[in-house]
């Protein structure tokens, strides 16, 4: 599994347009790409799911990528983040600290998990 930690720095937050281009990026890969903010998490392949996280300036966000093409996916997602005002953190401590279990957001994801 690949992990990315970042702090979002754009004044406007992760609004609809960049969320849309993140979805486009994520859909190019087989791997599951999960975004975690606080106790919420969402698949990066769904526009509503990402917007539902309501990522704002200063938010600490984690992304976990798992699957055959996870290395390439990580690279692409990092590329997206660099273009969209996010500070990627490489600090090992931060990674450790954030290695918590995924808690599924009790929203639409759960309801739709039957399909996946």
């Amino acid at each position: 599994m690949e992990k990315i930690n970042f702090i979002f720095t754009d004044e406007a937050g992760l609004h609809a347009r960049p969320a849309g281009s993140l979805v486009k990026t994520a859909l190019e890969f087989e791997s599951s790409i999960i975004i975690k903010k606080d106790e919420k998490c969402a698949s990066a392949k769904g526009l509503f799911a990402i917007m539902g996280l309501s990522i704002k300036k200063g938010d600490n966000v984690k992304i976990e990528i798992e699957g055959e093409d996870e290395k390439q996916a990580k690279e692409a997602v990092e590329g997206f983040l660099k273009e969209n005002s996010a500070e990627i953190q490489t600090n090992e401590e931060l990674l450790e600290e954030n290695a918590v279990d995924i808690q599924i957001n009790e929203g639409f994801l759960e309801e739709n998990s039957a399909e996946t």
Binding site: E11, A12, A16, G46, M51, S54
Partner: protein, 557 residues
């Protein structure tokens, strides 16, 4: 016959059958289906049609108006394609056995509520997008049913009544089928209104809730020049309107023939006629009206209807687009004139008892200089791409002007240090809209390159009459001698100091005052694009030498 009054867009008359197209969620069919596969294929078809519509609109809008305006269609398309959304609808069809329409409605409602419950203002306002896509998909589901029925009404043209219009609805409208629009809400400056004006489809806005459901299918007529709507007009009214239609056509033909002409009086005096705009979408109208430039760009509209301050980059892009489209013709940008009747939440303005005399215009900018600095940087950067001037609103003193000029000088210095190119020929002017500024215009004239007289505020401050208070309307007189004398004083003081003076308030498009302004020697009139040719006609017909004495006697002696 019922006559309703609203705000008309354009000047024309049209007749048709009223088609009420209220966009709401009433009457959504709700039943248990018997065939999952059938409902599923109906859904897939409607979804892909809706995606296609948004993709087409994206391309079309991108071409006509640019990326910013087109973006919304791209986002709507992605929302419709969203996997979670689709699965959520399918789940309802499969497990709850509801029909496709109701499943779309129910799933959308859930996402709508999810957005409403988010802690971010921007995300909360995305709830409206969910409503839009839901209506978009439902349209294809009901169309599929409607198209199976023969519609006997379509042999005559229809006039559509709706709450508001999407730009796509206007630009996609078949003019052979739709002869006009009546809106309960709407705004003159909206994209839909601009498109209606450009494509010459009559529209009446702000009619409120006066169109009753039983009017659906009745004969209606619109006179957009008067902003009137006639429900089942009688024969005399139809006759009268037909005559009026001919007059409008004749008038437009004669006005259009004035395009390309100079604004010269019979005895050779020249006056510049420019356009007022609120946003970059209006540029096409400006170009179409043959304006000499933009005399007033109300930049505060860049700050309204959003949740954060526009960045330097965003502003730069807008200003650049405007000056480039005006290809060398002058564009006067009025710096942020917020407060009074225009505001946005993020400014966190305090509640005021008398906002017209309160925290507004340059008062806000002098108090919070960082806002103005950002704007000035964007304006100066755009000056490298065309002919731009800066104008400061709500001035009352010489000190204010000096401070603002120093801020502009500092911005130029900073840009120079950063090696960012800008033009050295950016004129700096001020609005004369307070009696204070008018009375010391001799002093102010030596500080700036031009004056633009804002007659709306100047009138309300001079006559002490609140423009928004209908109770004192009867006392209001825009032709009051005090106002005309003040304008003359300002123009005279400007000319004494070798600078030019223009008028950019409502009075500039008042035909009955054109002669007066010409007699005073006003250098420029700036007005809504739709009035430009009308005023040019008046200028061409005027002989200043002949009328000057009479006018001076009437108003100034």
């Amino acid at each position: 016959m019922v006559i309703l009054k609203g705000k008309g867009i354009g000047e024309s008359v049209s007749f048709g059958t009223l088609l009420i197209n209220k966009k709401n969620f009433d009457n959504i069919p709700k039943y248990f289906h018997e065939n999952f596969e059938l409902e599923k294929s109906r859904l897939e078809k409607a979804l892909s049609s809706a995606v296609k519509e948004n993709t087409d609109m994206y391309k079309k809008t991108l071409e006509i108006s640019g990326k910013k305006e087109a973006e919304i269609f791209e986002i709507h398309g992605m929302m419709i394609k969203d996997k979670d959304y689709r699965l959520s609808i399918l789940n309802i069809i499969e497990k709850e056995k509801y029909n496709c329409e109701y499943a779309v409605y129910k799933a959308s409602k859930k996402f709508h509520e999810m957005f409403l419950n988010l802690d971010d203002e921007y995300m909360r306002s995305r709830a409206a997008d969910v409503k839009d896509i839901c209506l978009n998909i439902l349209k294809y589901l009901t169309d599929e049913i409607d198209s199976k029925k023969e519609d006997p009404k379509i042999d005559s043209k229809v006039i559509i009544f709706s709450d508001d219009l999407m730009p796509s609805e206007v630009s996609n409208a078949d003019k052979n089928l739709i002869s006009g629009y009546i809106l309960s809400g709407g705004s003159e400056c909206s994209h839909a209104s601009i498109l209606a004006r450009l494509s010459n489809i009559p529209m009446v806005l702000g009619i409120g809730e006066h169109i009753k459901p039983e009017y659906d299918g009745m004969d209606v007529a619109i006179d957009s020049g008067e902003g009137k709507v006639y429900i089942s007009p009688d024969t005399d009214t139809v006759k009268m309107l037909k005559k009026k239609e001919k007059q409008y056509v004749k008038k437009h033909e004669s006005l259009n023939s004035l395009k390309g002409k100079e604004n010269l009086t019979l005895d050779g005096y020249k006056i510049n006629i420019c356009a007022n705009i609120n946003n970059d979408l209006q540029i096409d109208e400006v170009l179409n009206s043959d304006a000499g430039g933009i005399g007033l760009f109300r930049s505060e509209f860049l700050y309204l209807n959003r949740d954060t301050y526009p960045t330097e980059e965003e502003q730069f892009e807008t200003y650049k687009k405007i000056v480039e489209k005006m290809s060398g013709n002058k564009v006067i940008i009025r710096t942020l004139d917020i407060g009074s009747d225009k505001s946005a939440d993020y400014f966190e303005f305090p509640e005021e008892i008398n906002p017209a005399m309160g925290y507004r215009g340059v008062r806000v900018c002098l108090d919070r200089p960082e806002i103005l600095i950002t704007q000035l940087r964007a304006i100066y950067r755009a000056s490298n791409h065309g002919n731009i001037s800066i104008m400061f609103p709500m001035i009352i003193s010489e000190t204010e002007v000096k401070t603002l000029k120093a801020m502009a000088a500092k911005v130029r210095e900073d840009l120079k240090k950063e090696n960012i190119p800008f033009s050295e020929d950016v004129e700096i002017g001020i609005m004369i809209e307070t009696p204070a500024a008018a009375l010391i215009s001799d002093v102010l004239a030596s500080e700036v390159d031009f004056f633009s007289i804002g007659t709306n505020d100047l009138t309300q401050y001079t006559l002490a009459i609140d423009r928004q208070n209908s109770k004192v309307n009867q006392f209001f007189d825009s032709h009051h001698k005090s106002i005309l004398r003040m304008i003359k004083l300002v123009v005279d003081n400007a000319h004494k100091h070798g600078i030019w003076a223009g008028i950019c308030g409502e009075m500039s498009s008042d035909e009955s005052l054109t002669e007066v302004f010409l007699a005073m020697g006003v250098d420029e009139l700036s007005m809504p694009s739709s009035s430009i040719l009308k005023i040019r006609k008046k200028v061409l017909e005027t002989d200043v030498g002949k009328i000057k004495n009479k006018i001076f006697k009437k108003f100034f002696k």
